[in-house]
């Protein structure tokens, strides 16, 4: 069935609620309203207020209670209204959820899924467009998943719910309704921690995730048509832990790498991928690694957004440089 990412996520949540009574879904305005973006629409009607419910505006309370639930037999899936609001509950996420397994030597696990819309391109302001994934790279214990299309979103969310550790599930706002893709109505899962080779190529590897996968594909198409360059596009799907094997295998093949993400450049996923490539396959590199990213500024106002975000044109510039065209 053709689904938007919203519909795919909604379908995944409904199936998880149906399959497993331990699953509860809660957050701000997710009940009757179905959430700001309607990802949880109709779920409360279908599964009742006992399992799908609204909370007060208390992010720290939401995450804190969900940790308590997760370490005592439930499988909470919580929505934080925008990824920018994750800052409000950082203590519970970073100091508690991520560390409970380690500090209890495995006595407790924290099977918690935190869903949060992130990313730019729809004229939302700062704190409503921020890409915060790199903040959590320094938080051992968290898995960070960022789907790039409806099919992946549904399968990855199923895996996130089944995972025994806390998963931060970041949903790109622009991708929510921008296109439909063939998505099974029944349950299926896509493993966490594994990247996906979206398009095979031989000259240069582009690593991207979330909305930037389509940006990379668009640039790859243009590069093929205009310059005959064969581009390999890899969708990371999970940005932590990184699929280092997939990254190394691709760079060993192509000898060139470009990383695209909308988060700021400094200390970002791109920086980490660059380091991984240096550690694992430095001598395969024919050219310095390229990065096409957001700038090291707070997320800008709508009028400057198009300038801020990576575009196929910006990726093309990087491609021409790395291919010496």
């Amino acid at each position: 069935m053709q689904m938007t990412m919203i519909e795919a996520l909604n379908s995944a949540l409904a199936l998880e609620l149906e399959r497993d009574r331990r699953v509860v879904v809660f957050g701000e305005d997710i009940g009757a309203n179905g959430g700001v973006f309607r990802v949880t629409e109709h779920l409360q009607n279908k599964f009742g207020e006992e399992r799908v419910f609204d909370t007060p505006l208390a992010e720290s309370g939401i995450i804190g209670t969900s940790i308590g639930m997760a370490i005592y037999g439930l499988r909470p899936i919580v929505e934080i209204q925008f990824a920018g609001f994750l800052f409000v509950c950082m203590n519970q996420l970073v100091s508690q959820a991520a560390r409970i397994r380690f500090r209890s030597a495995g006595a407790y696990t924290c099977p918690l899924v935190v869903r949060a819309p992130y990313g730019g391109g729809v004229r939302t302001p700062e704190l409503h467009s921020d890409s915060l994934e790199a903040v959590f790279l320094q938080t051992p214990g968290f898995k960070i998943v960022v789907p790039s299309n409806p099919y992946d979103a549904k399968g990855l969310l199923a895996s996130a719910v089944e995972d025994p550790d806390p998963v931060l599930f970041l949903e790109n706002i622009k991708l929510y309704r921008s296109f439909r893709a063939e998505t099974p109505t029944e349950h299926y899962s896509i493993p966490l921690g594994k990247a996906n080779v979206v398009q095979e190529g031989t000259d240069v590897s582009i690593f991207a995730y979330g909305a930037m996968v389509n940006v990379a594909l668009e640039a790859a198409k243009q590069a093929q048509q205009e310059t005959g360059t064969s581009v390999e596009v890899i969708d990371l799907r999970t940005v932590w832990p990184l699929d280092e094997d997939a990254i190394a295998a691709s760079v060993e093949k192509t000898g060139r790498a470009i990383i695209v993400h909308e988060a700021p450049r400094a200390g970002g996923i791109g920086a980490e991928i660059t380091a991984v490539i240096n550690e694992r396959c430095f001598y395969s590199l024919l050219k310095p690694i390229g990065r096409v990213t957001g700038y090291d500024t707070p997320y800008p106002v709508p009028g400057q957004e198009d300038y801020y975000l990576p575009t196929p044109a910006k990726v093309m510039t990087a491609l021409r440089e790395i291919m010496e065209l």
């Binding site: 969900s66 203590n91 380690f102 030597a105 550790d165």
Partner: protein, 341 residues
């Protein structure tokens, strides 16, 4: 030498003597911990429960094995009272592999799934929303468990306190909030930190019953906690108890305590010691004798010594233990890096 069958607060003589023993054990255990810390056997920070024994003993005596306990970093006593072996607690303090968290948690992180002990927490008030979540999970799964959450007077100034109490009251969760008001959040006196002079207005703000209790009187704590636990177990929702107590030692082992006078400390130790108060009462009512107290104390001292010996003679965790328990499997980059090294 008058030993009667008299009871106190419905507790039998055996139960009362057991409570006395547990108070003695917490005292001797913490004294031993302090000694080992000074000897350099325990690293990091350590927060002693000395002076507050009546709070833990009076309240946890009311709990069943399946009930849940969360606490702050002053939690050695709570873990022992919930059934954790003193040896296992001491080994965790030493950072040894025989500790409850295999030496990976340390003083602030006593955990046991079997015993329902959920820490210890290094962040003030972080355990409060988690307590509401545990209580929610119990209620959702149809378990008749009570969650008892200990925290200090500093925690009530954190936002997490308010978010937790609001949610617990809203959802009528079976939680007992135990504020151990030892009158200083580190060096900050309650009088300087709170805009109100008691927790009662804050209980009222979240539409839950509150009680102020003399925390140096183990029986008073027992009775107040009993009411709160029964409310929770009967599905009547959460209760906030403000237990007024005093820590006889510093905030941690490295606290110079410039914020209070030595006279004040002596006054409390000499006239308000919870163990002394309890002994006096038991003797006056002809329930127990000094000889029995001495016997309890000797046993407590011996158990504390044994715990320290056990910890000292236990093995350190293997270095590779560092890489376990971060995430469930070996699919992490972390384990991959370790393999590559």
């Amino acid at each position: 030498m008058a030993i009667s069958n008299a009871t106190l607060a419905g507790l039998t003589r055996t139960q009362l003597l057991e409570m006395h023993y547990m108070m003695s054990l917490l005292r001797r255990f913490e004294e031993k911990s302090a000694e080992e810390y000074t000897r350099g056997k325990i690293g990091g920070f350590m927060h002693l429960y000395i002076g507050q024994e009546a709070v833990g003993v009076g309240s946890i005596t009311n709990l069943l094995p399946e009930d849940r306990v969360l606490s702050s970093y002053r939690e050695h006593g709570h873990a022992i009272l919930k059934g954790m072996e003193p040896r296992v607690v001491m080994a965790e303090l030493f950072g040894k592999s025989t500790g409850c968290s295999k030496g990976k948690g340390g003083s602030m992180h006593m955990w046991s799934n079997e015993l329902g002990v959920y820490g210890g927490n290094g962040i003030v008030a972080a355990q409060l929303p988690m307590a509401a979540g545990l209580a929610f999970a119990a209620q959702y799964q149809g378990l008749n468990n009570v969650t008892m959450c200990f925290f200090g007077d500093g925690a009530v100034d954190e936002g997490a306190f308010h978010e937790s109490l609001n949610l617990a009251s809203l959802w009528k969760l079976p939680v007992v909030y135990m504020c151990e008001n030892n009158q200083y959040s580190m060096g900050m006196a309650v009088a300087k930190a709170w805009a109100v002079d008691s927790l009662m207005p804050r209980a009222a703000a979240y539409n839950m019953p509150g009680e102020q209790v003399d925390g140096m009187d183990v029986i008073a704590v027992y009775e107040a906690a009993l009411r709160a636990v029964e409310r929770a177990r009967n599905g009547e929702g959460p209760t906030l108890l403000e237990i007024k107590t005093y820590r006889f030692r510093g905030h941690s082992m490295t606290d110079p305590a410039y914020y209070r006078t030595r006279e004040e400390e002596h006054e409390w130790r000499n006239t308000r010691d919870p163990i002394g108060i309890f002994e006096k009462r038991l003797q006056e009512q002809g329930i127990a004798t000094q000889a029995e107290f001495d016997q309890n104390d000797a046993r407590a001292t011996q158990v504390a010594e044994d715990a320290a010996d056990f910890a000292e003679n236990s093995p350190d965790p293997a270095p590779a233990e560092l890489f376990t328990g971060v995430m469930v499997d070996n699919s992490t980059a972390l384990s991959f890096r370790r393999e590559r090294e």
